[in-house]
């Protein structure tokens, strides 16, 4: 009987949480027009969220591309099809690996930082102080961070894919001796701008939206103690990663 009650409580808690999350999103979206006049707030956040994430994205992209080149070559060479290596690398990166890995890395690098920052502002009552001064903390603190994350993820994804394709070229062509012309021409014949690249771009936009939303919500909703902030940060990374992987399946089945 007790387990049943706990299950009911858990369900109700979660439904309530989703409700809070949605209301919070509407609140953030409503706060966006008021900060458009002060765009430097967004620029500073793009620096914190996007530019500082650049290094990990570029390095991971390079290595993912290189691994794809190596593994792809080892498999394809058995069938004498190593000329398709460029296609394999480019399609894997544009359709799946680019958007998904970028979103996961972004959740780990920038999402957790957003949650911790907002959560600590709450714990040290900075948000409450803003409210006392009749400044809406959601519009002043959360909305710029939300826009910055939403803008940064697609850009980071495009960089990840570009560097990855170059990494595949580095291993496949320079190291393993696949013909450079075949590498690029197989890619160009097989990759469609609208079907592959734009769909990957749409995925990254959706992921950017969801990951940033989860990150800022968890920070704003955190229990204002040091333990609460640490839990919220963990929840951001776990929930954002699960959301990205789940949404990736849904988007893939819808678009491809």
């Amino acid at each position: 009987m007790n387990t049943l009650r706990l299950l009911g409580k858990w369900t109700l808690d979660n439904v309530q949480r989703w409700g809070r999350e949605t209301i919070f999103l509407l609140h953030v979206l409503a706060g966006i027009p008021s900060i458009l006049g002060r765009f430097y707030l967004v620029i500073h956040q793009v620096f914190a969220v996007g530019v500082l994430t650049l290094v990990i994205i570029l390095v991971s992209g390079l290595f993912v591309g290189m691994v794809l080149g190596l593994q792809g070559y080892n498999t394809l060479v058995d069938f004498g099809a190593e000329s398709s290596l460029g296609l394999l690398v480019a399609l894997s990166l544009t359709r799946e690996l680019g958007p998904v890995l970028t979103a996961l890395l972004f959740a780990g690098r920038a999402g957790s930082a957003l949650t911790a920052e907002i959560g600590l502002m709450k714990a040290t009552e900075q948000l409450a102080a803003m409210e006392m001064m009749a400044v809406d903390p959601v519009a002043r603190v959360v909305a710029p961070r939300f826009i910055a994350g939403f803008l940064s993820v697609p850009l980071l994804t495009m960089l990840f894919i570009t560097v990855g394709v170059w990494g595949g070229h580095l291993v496949g062509v320079v190291l393993l001796g696949v013909d450079a012309g075949q590498y690029w021409s197989a890619m160009q014949n097989g990759v469609d701008f609208y079907d592959d690249i734009l769909n990957g771009f749409v995925k990254s936009v959706v992921f950017g939206f969801v990951v940033t939303w989860i990150a800022v919500f968890e920070g704003y909703d955190a229990t204002p103690t040091s333990e609460g902030v640490s839990r919220a940060t963990t929840r951001t990374v776990v929930n954002a990663s699960l959301a990205v992987l789940g949404l990736d399946f849904v988007l893939t089945s819808l678009m491809f």
Binding site: Y40, I43, P154, L155, L159, Q188, V191, F193, I197
Partner: protein, 154 residues
């Protein structure tokens, strides 16, 4: 970090990100030369299209001039109707052009090869190519060969 340095970095970040999108579009996706969005559509009927798929290239003398845009079945004669989009640049294909389904290499992907005829009039939107040659299905060919061998051996 000073305000102008932050702005510089953000500007650089956005510029490089957009440049990456452009590189993907033109270098990886081949947006510049590859996609034929505005072309005229012609159809052709084939008895068997083999492994031809939508977006397969349409070539003239080995040069790609279009893409297969649709494949369906004709209700009346059960043949495959292949609709292809040919780039508007090549609007001087004679009316009696023939289309055949060819294979890149021995086991490669299939594509359509066009062979220009000698008519004075040109193909235009909605026309049908009358002279066609179906795909060669390797299994059938081997089957026929073996069958022929067995008959000859008797």
């Amino acid at each position: 970090m000073t305000k102008s340095a932050v702005e510089l970095w953000v500007g650089l970040f956005v510029a490089v990100g957009l440049a990456a999108l452009a590189v993907l579009a033109f270098k990886v996706g081949n947006l510049s030369a590859g996609d034929i969005r505005d072309g005229y559509k012609v159809t052709a009927r084939f008895g068997n299209i083999g492994g031809l798929s939508i977006k397969a290239p349409v070539t003239l003398a080995g040069v790609r001039i279009g893409r297969v845009s649709d494949i369906r079945i004709g209700r009346d004669d059960y043949s495959a109707i292949v609709e292809m989009t040919v780039d508007n640049k090549y609007d001087n294909m004679p009316l009696d052009t023939s289309a055949s389904i060819l294979t890149q290499g021995l086991l490669g992907a299939q594509y359509i090869g066009l062979d220009p005829g000698a008519e004075e009039e040109f193909l235009k939107e909605g026309d049908r190519i009358e002279i066609t040659q179906s795909a060669i299905v390797l299994e059938q060919l081997i089957g026929q060969l073996l069958f022929g061998k067995a008959e000859g051996g008797d």
